[in-house]
Symmetry: C2
Subunit: 258 residues, 2 copies
DNA sequence: CACGTTTGGTCGAATAACGCATACATTTTG
DNA sequence: CAAAATGTATGCGTTATTCGACCAAACGTG
């Protein structure tokens, strides 16, 4: 009997997570056949894994379709509670959202991407893209993403930009890797990133890092209609507010250690 | 060879999820030994499953400890994006939070418990308990919880209240099952739940259901300092706002079908 | 700082579970 | 309405998983 490739890895568990991840932003109702196609797994395996998710409560059956249940959120809840998000991070975002006069968000780098952790909107405003907890953010065309790239260890961003697929979100999106790298280098020098209408038409993002370069891979940012942030006083005020927010973030449980 | 207990269930996958769930609100840094104790699984099994989570990116290693990464949030993100939370639900909560003059939250029943799905705070205010996305809410001592019980199919709540553990959160917490059932019945009759300082001292919760009884298992609510909601005009205004919010919720993608 | 205890890591053997093929039932599609 | 697709169930060979044993490493305590 040949030895396993890696006895440290449970292939069944990996497959189970693949099935869970098959439910994504655009596919919330999936049949067994859909799951088999999307995961490339054997139909019998998919059936067993999907029924296991039903048994565990993360998925329910609606006719022939499997549907995610809100129980999946409780896994996120553990991360939040464990990191003091509800008692420290969220109140800070709420307060600074008011201070800035626009939405305030926290994102963390997670591998070769950034994840929205939480946000606060001080007042009702036109819907932009509709990011939520767990949303993945473009590292190349958002202020938060560029700031994350700018604050990574030397060389990381260069390597990332060489490998990543460049997607053009708007007419204003930079598409040349060199130009994006130049923008990242500029953000590094300035200590903040400003990205004007490259991810969403009419919307400008502004972001600052939490802590020193090479540290947490964490950034706070805001996004507003371009007309609003084109006003110098308004932009400087928002930037000032984000810097204060970032500074207060460094005192929270999430960022105190390391 | 005896037949498997249930060929539809993958016990390895179940164990893997048990390991993932071992990271909870109070335990974000766990050793292999901790995980073995908390899951009751064999140490070698725990090792392999924990290393699989590292391989998948949901957990990282810090010395001997395993720590959740923000990647876990992306599973929640799929639920949110798939249900249009960022483009419909969250903006509604933001708007009505302003309208109500206090935080507005959406919770869904998930099995024998309720899960916070999302919330908005119109303005910075004293931190209360610090619920976040994914937080589990007391069904017995919160307005949201009682409204969920009230709006379930006949008999469900009675059975639940017979079985559940009654925890006394504050001096004002009802501890008699009959008294709680009476409060639930009253919420059912009124079409809203008001819970005064039973979960958190000095805080009153107000909640209304989304849709008809026996429907979505979904509720919107707010919580404010008791002094504020003791004012009749203020309370009626908040109630009116929540009712309008609930009505608009029924037109969103999350609640339109079924 | 030494030592006992706890925890981590590895391996082999047994076996439970998986994957695949097949068959049949049910649903969907053209 | 028939064919195709999908769901469900089962047998069986294969293999991944389990668990206990053993040793190494790390930790905690006196």
């Amino acid at each position: 009997m040949p030895k396993p490739v890696n006895r440290n890895i449970s292939t069944t568990f990996v497959k189970g997570i693949q099935v869970l991840k098959a439910f994504d932003d655009d596919n919330t109702h999936l049949t067994q056949a859909d799951l088999a196609v999307r995961t490339g797994l054997d139909r019998a395996s998919v059936r067993r894994l999907a029924l296991t998710l039903v048994e565990l409560g993360y998925v329910r059956q609606a006719g022939r379709h499997f549907v995610l249940t809100p129980q999946i959120l409780t896994l996120a809840g553990s991360f939040f509670q464990g990191n003091g998000v509800g008692v420290e991070i969220q109140p800070l975002l709420n307060r600074y959202s008011e201070r800035i006069g626009g939405p305030a968000s926290l994102a963390l780098r997670d591998g070769a991407r950034a994840v929205y952790v939480c946000q606060s909107a001080a007042r009702a405003q036109p819907v932009t893209f509709g990011f939520t907890v767990g949303s993945r953010i473009s590292l190349t065309h958002s202020a938060i993403g560029r700031m994350i790239l700018a604050w990574e260890k030397t060389g990381w961003s260069e390597n990332f930009l060489q490998e990543t697929e460049i997607v053009q979100h708007t007419a204003a999106s930079l598409t040349d890797r060199g130009a994006i790298l130049k923008a990242v280098t500029e953000a590094r020098a300035l200590g903040y990133a400003l990205v004007r209408e490259e991810f969403e038409p009419g919307v400008t993002g502004l972001a600052v890092p939490i802590g020193h370069a090479g540290g947490h891979g964490a950034v706070v940012g805001t996004s507003m209609p371009t007309a609003e942030l084109d006003d110098n006083a308004r932009r400087e005020d928002a930037l000032q507010g984000l810097r204060e927010l970032a500074r207060e973030m460094t005192h929270t449980r999430m960022f105190r250690q390391s």
